[in-house]
């Protein structure tokens, strides 16, 4: 259990690490080019992993709805945005504001998709996050 908790923690560290590395690349190139390299190098790495582990086409991916295939294009913009932001507002502010956006839009998606949830907790959670964003925003430069 503690081992898995450490792995989950490490996964978060790696999210930040990857954004910093991409951000450093964008400093010498551009945010779009950094996003390109992130995707092409990641593609090579995952292809290698698929060759080693096998099972890439397991299951029935052809039955997935068409929109499930749109994650890649969205990811290109997401990685470029992270690379652009991290050099300008720092790793912590970038991570914090992305988390805020992810959490609040996640609640909106859940409501649109009709996913059951605790309304009171959703209101409290979103209110806390909005308060945090207001604090981050309210300081004078």
């Amino acid at each position: 259990m503690i081992g898995f908790a450490a792995l989950a923690l490490l996964a978060g560290v790696l999210v930040s690490l990857s954004r910093q590395i991409n951000g450093r690349l964008a400093l010498s190139t551009s945010a779009w080019e950094s996003s390109f390299w992130n995707h092409v190098v990641g593609l090579g790495f995952i292809t290698l992993a698929a060759l080693v582990f096998g099972g890439l086409f397991a299951g029935a991916p052809q039955d997935a709805p068409w929109w499930a295939y749109l994650g890649g294009p969205v990811g290109v913009v997401f990685i470029a945005a992270g690379s652009w932001l991290i050099a300008r507002i720092g790793a912590a502010q970038t991570a914090l504001l992305i988390i805020a956006g992810q959490m609040i839009s996640g609640v909106m998606i859940d409501i649109i998709m009709g996913t059951a949830g605790n309304t009171l907790a959703r209101i409290a959670g979103v209110a806390l996050i909005l308060a945090g964003m207001w604090v981050a925003r309210s300081a004078k430069d």
Binding site: L7, S105, D110
Partner: protein, 155 residues
Amino acid sequence: MSNPVPAPRLLHFTAAFGAGSLLSLMVLFNGTLATYGSLLFASWVPHLTGTALAIVILLALRPRRAGISHPPLWAYLGGVVGGVTVMLTSATMNTALALSGTIALGLAGQMLFSLFADIRGLFGLPQRMPKARDYLALALIIAGSLVLIFLGGAA
């Protein structure tokens, strides 16, 4: 040489919040793909289509290279770190941690390492010292996230 963290401007603010919303869509799209195909497939396909779109964007916009100096070779390895992250996450999701625990610990790891990197100025990025205000914003946003992760689901 350490500067205080400047308050994010409205443009940065909007971009980061918008990026977070894109991340929600990615999780929805890639997660749906993973329920039909393998986890590797659900990571391989977006990298493939993403590479294709990135090439189109580079050809269309031809963004200027910022520096004359070449970036260090390790700066090209962000994609490898991203690939390892996918594998780690898929390894912990189906344990006693469940999805909510995996996400919460992931947020913690992300914030702790981001603060550490800012304070030390790691990887050639600007060094920044967070102020009391930044820690208050951090506490509020993480508290709200934990409420959503652990209490926001169906009772």
